[in-house]
Amino acid sequence: MIGQKDIVTSRAAKEVAAGPPLICVKDLRVIFDAGRAGFWGRKRLQVHAVEKVSFDIHPGETLGLVGESGSGKSTTGRAILGRVPITSGTIFFQDKEITHAGKEMVRALSRYMQLVFQDPYASLNPRMKIVDIVAEPLLVHGLVKNTKEAAGEVAQLLELVGLPPDAGARYPHAFSGGQRQRVGIARALALKPQFIVADEPVSALDVSIRAQVVNLMQDLQARFGLAYLFIAHDLAVVRHISHRIAIMYAGNIVELADRHLIYESPVHPYTKALLSAVPVPDPPVQRARQRITCAGEAPNPMDPPAGCRFQSRCPHVTQTCRDTAPVLTSRRPGQTAACWNC
């Protein structure tokens, strides 16, 4: 069943999608060097973190990027922001290629693209006051000469994210996890960016606080037309905030679709397994649910198999899957999946 709300947002998503994309990622590949092994270190070890990933993000849109640990979702987000060397592929911001942006360009781009981190305890300098933390991006970009000059702007930003006006004078330790995450969001908003990569922004927060931050992010999006790449492993949260969702497995996007299609009629066997693995907080419903078992574990990223990377866990695996890697193809309007047998 497709909810009313889903229809509405998917229409909204299409309206947004009419214009040119803000971010355009094509065939992105990131391979990390992981030292050497073997006799006298003759063998080079490489981690294939992201493999041929392509997607667009439009202004005002949230793309949810979901996957288990090691699936390459964070690396993808960081690659867009120029914080990870890219092996091949292209990334466009508006109509400008930023694939191999140098230090200068990354710095210039940070006015338009910002990052919100997962751990609100580790991402704020404990020795800086909140006002200095939030004003820092303004200083770095020379928009203000000193923190004093930024005071008005910082106060506005703090109010925007729902922090008390006296918060600026305090240090991070005085705040709870949820409030710290608000500080992180205020800092990301300081330069009025158009695009924010949110890397698991609510994973470290308790349930009762999580909703506060998700709602704040949605409000800010509605107000400023922000585009989000929302990276998460929690499918239930992603469903609330995303217009479209990409499911990653072992460095590949296996399915990319409008959000109601992901949840109502998933195509890829991994998407199905992932959805059925999330327990529903309602005992009778949970008991009645059929779990699609998917035995085994993700492949070694240092030595990924030829063909489809899901082959070792897939219930429908065939010889084609072992020989050739599938690419994303259209399944129905608004839904693409990478699978030979579905």
């Binding site: 009762s208 005992p283 419903v285």
Partner: protein, 330 residues
């Protein structure tokens, strides 16, 4: 030891645990009481800092400096675990009749010994088996938790295994002495959802086959829904509601339980907006007077400043809320 089926397997009565820190005395457990019956699974849910882990650490005798158990008692099969006279009983029980599974299987296994060494150590210490017997039993145990090629696995070190596999080893070790009670403290929090599903299924299956009792500590209501017969909801060092899991989920009484269930996003339901609980959990160095949830509760009134205890509310449900007791708002 009292093996009467009528005595609960484990009973925690009015447990008070304080931590003496530089910042002040943290009242982690402020009078926690619960029971676990034979063959039953009790889920303890709560957010970080609610005292859910502290309660079971006290059962296992894992409260150490600066923490102190300063009140209440813990009974296992009718016998006190805190009574200094029963030291010998306690040493025999902990690790043998009560086993524990921790959150992070990487840090709870010793990285410099093989899996085999670590499992056989338990068997030789508690059951006095010799080398060969222990090795054979260890292989059986690995088979029990669905680990293939146990002979090969016994020779491996923890780093050679994935997170899910390590958690299976932890479960095998917990099962080694045929415990009557398994305490699992966030056993799947560090795992991916597909692996979590495998481990939860394994736990449910073992619980049924071996008829052990389980205490499952988690912050995920979905995990409770999947595995538990009864559920206790903790907030700020106290249990605020306890009862049959189906009933608590279907008709929560305490405002915090209601809020928690509403705030947990569901895969199968689409809502306009996520529901949050305003405010933040209290500081346990100086918890609020009376009901600790009252500053965040929209039903709070003057009565909520009075101290309160878990009060029975029919059909095995206990709630600690003045408004609920007065109105029985179900």
């Amino acid at each position: 030891m009292n093996d009467n089926q009528n005595t609960p397997l484990l009973e925690v009565r009015n447990l008070v645990v304080n931590f003496y820190t530089r910042g002040g005395v943290v009242q982690a457990s402020r009078g926690v009481s619960f029971q676990v019956g034979h063959g039953q699974t009790l889920g303890i849910v709560g957010e970080s800092g609610s005292g859910k882990s502290v309660a079971v650490q006290a059962v296992m005798g894992l409260i150490s400096n600066p923490g102190r158990i300063e009140g209440g008692d813990i009974f296992f099969m009718g016998q006190s675990l805190l009574d200094p006279a029963g030291r010998k009983f306690v040493r025999k029980v902990r690790g043998k009749d009560i086993a524990m599974i921790f959150q992070d299987p990487m840090t709870s296994l010793n990285p410099v010994f093989t899996i085999g060494t670590q499992i056989t150590e338990v068997l030789r210490h508690h059951l006095g088996m010799n080398r060969d017997q222990a090795r054979k039993r260890a292989m059986d145990l690995l088979g029990l938790v669905d680990i293939n090629a146990p002979e090969k696995r016994l020779k491996q070190y923890p780093y050679e295994m994935s997170g899910g596999m390590r958690q299976r080893v932890m479960i095998a070790m917990a099962l080694a002495c045929e415990p009557r009670l398994i305490i699992a403290d966030e056993p799947t929090t560090a795992l991916d959802v597909t692996i979590q599903a495998q481990i939860l299924e394994l736990l449910a299956d073992l619980q049924q086959r071996l008829a052990v009792s389980v205490i499952l500590i988690t912050h995920d209501l979905g995990v409770v829904a999947q595995l538990c017969h009864r559920v206790a909801v903790m907030y700020a060092g106290r249990i605020v509601e306890v009862g049959d899991a189906d009933q608590v989920f279907a008709s929560p009484v305490h405002p915090y339980t209601k809020g928690l269930i509403r705030a947990t996003p569901r895969l199968d339901v689409v809502t306009e907006r996520m529901v949050s609980i305003d405010g933040v959990p209290p500081d346990l160095i100086s918890p609020p007077q009376g009901c600790a949830f009252s500053p965040r509760c929209d039903q709070a009134e003057n009565a909520c400043l009075r101290p309160q205890t878990l009060t029975p509310l029919g059909d095995d449900r206990h709630v600690s809320c003045w408004c609920a007791i007065k109105g029985d708002t179900r």
